[in-house]
Amino acid sequence: MGGFWHRFARNRSAVLGLAILAIVLLMAAAAPLLYPGSPFALAGRPLSGPFGEFLFGTDTLGRNVAAGIAHGARTSLLIGLISTAVAVLLGVLIGGVAGYYGGRVDDLLMRLTEIFQTIPSFVFAIVLVAVMSPSVHSTVIAIAVVSWPGVARLARGEFLSMRRREFVQSCVSLGMGDLRIMFRQILPNCLSPIIVTASLLVATAILIESGLAFLGLGDPNVMSWGFQVGAGRTVLRSAWWICTFPGIAILLTVLAINLVGEGLNDALNPRLRSA
């Protein structure tokens, strides 16, 4: 473990990413303390500029943008993390099994994957949200449903290629169980692209959420960064701060998650250890 931290800490941008992420998490946790009450509350004069009475100004209705960012962090992170967790779990399981066993199993599972992949993903997400009526739940489900096939295909490709490798073959000849080979031998060896993909997915999920909110399909009762950007978009040219600060929040968080993902990749990758 110490070795891992050492390797991770060597990557300065990864540490920076982790620091940003920690701040965002802290902000999400402390939101009710920092800004008690509803972030939808009309806090002051509408369209007050930033760095005055309100740190990031107020929006068109006079809501505190900073309070929205703090409370919105919870929603955005929650949606990003849960939907990614579901998508990766499903994707690795289905893709891994398909790639490892090949043959009929592969055919069947890949056809299942294809079914979900053949529908244009963002449009499909919109369809799911529209059918289920916009809410946090429907957003999470929609994002997970459109995200897992990509992971599955990636995992399948990796497992398929690893399956033929000498070290896997020798494990098979040693009589090692399938599950053990898959999760002990193969998975760690193709973890880095999956981790990179997962970090991209969290980021993508946050971006998809903001895209849905941009199109007016967010949960109208829950504060999120996507909601803020969407709501501030029309006044972008006269009140830049309303959608700029949540936009920066999205950008920084996505950036931080990615940096951490890369750091993990470098630190975890067994073949980079000697390098």
Binding site: R111, T118, I119, F122, V123, E262, L272
Partner: protein, 339 residues
């Protein structure tokens, strides 16, 4: 030794195998696509309200009798399984049906938008894959130098920027402030250019949406390529090749690159499969007459025949692309079998 003839025979074998593989995959796809149609059909019939509601809402008013007449005309008064059966029967005879909202066959509507969609999406694909692979390669070969850092940071930032924000900014900068490019649309409306003037006009309109969309995908490919290159660089065969005295150049371009392209091809395949879906957000911002926007609008109009039609064609494309991706996989990595 049967070496010579044996090689010839196996190449032939390989070709036959490949053809069989393609045929089998395409055949397999038929039930997949039908299943997709069924799933979408059932899913969308869960949505509240129907096309008659929307038409009545837009019309400002409509009597229940008129709505009933509309539903009868659209076939919405039939039980769901009958509607599904009729639709499947039509699909099997390659009839995509009729859009009652637009008063046009679905196929005509889709073909109208196919050109602009492919233009935008293919431009994006070519731009982002070629530049992305190149940048990823540059970053990986100069690991942890300023070159790598700049490329990685730029890729990250452009990946992390919401598309609609970026599109909006580009419009403000390049068409309003600098007045270099048009704000939206695919052609100058009211000019009615012809010949090369028209081509140039469309090209000018294409720049901003294509760049907006490319920046996002470009970041994906750059990062993927870089990660894959690094991954491959640590492989045993690289060490072996190095021990054999091959130059770094030979190793990179002869061995590493080929393997590192696999994940890139996977993602490019996914992106290609999404071509027909277009991009709802970019098409919305730039008023590009693509299929993504059409699908979006038809969902909210409950113009389900049209929406199914787009999904169906998109599904067909994905199937074809997946076969091609598998073939390329086999070509790049001989360890992967096709059979």
């Amino acid at each position: 030794m049967p070496g010579v003839s044996g090689t010839g025979c196996s190449t032939q074998d390989f070709d036959v195998r490949r053809l069989r593989f393609i045929a089998r995959r395409l055949l397999q796809a038929v039930p997949t696509i039908l299943l997709i149609v069924v799933i979408n059909f059932l899913l969308l019939h869960l949505a509240p309200g129907d096309a008659a509601d929307v038409l009545a809402g837009e019309a400002g008013s409509a009597t229940p009798e008129y709505m009933a007449a509309l539903r009868a005309r659209f076939g919405l008064d039939q039980p769901l399984y009958v509607q599904l059966f009729v639709y499947l029967k039509n699909i099997l005879s390659l009839d995509l049906g009729y859009s009652f909202r637009h008063n046009q066959p679905v196929l005509t509507l889709i073909l109208d938008r196919l050109g602009p969609t492919l233009l935008l999406m293919a431009t994006t694909l070519v731009l982002s894959v070629s530049i992305g692979v190149l940048l990823g390669l540059l970053a990986a070969t100069g690991l942890r130098t300023w070159r790598d850092n700049i490329i990685s940071v730029l890729a990250l930032v452009s990946y992390a920027t919401p598309l609609f924000w970026l599109g909006l900014m580009l419009i403000i900068i390049f068409s309003i402030q600098l007045d270099w490019l048009p704000t939206s649309g695919m052609e100058t409306i009211g000019a009615f250019y012809e010949g090369w003037d028209r081509v140039a006009d469309i090209a000018r309109h294409l720049v901003l949406p294509a760049v907006t969309l490319s920046l996002f995908y470009l970041a994906v490919y750059t990062r993927l390529m870089r990660a894959a290159m690094l991954e491959q660089a640590g492989m045993d065969y690289v060490t072996t090749a190095r021990a054999k005295g091959l130059t770094e150049r030979r190793i990179t371009f002869g061995h590493v690159l080929r393997n590192a392209l696999l994940p890139v091809i996977t993602v490019a395949g996914i992106q290609t499969g999404g071509l027909i879906g277009g991009s709802v957000v970019v098409e919305t911002i730039f008023g590009w007459p693509g299929l993504g926007l059409l699908a979006f609008q038809s969902l909210f109009a409950r113009d389900l025949n049209l929406l199914f039609g787009i999904f169906f064609l998109s599904a067909c494309l994905v199937v074809v692309v997946n076969v091609i991706v598998d073939l390329i996989y086999a070509l790049l990595d001989p360890r992967i079998e096709i059979a």
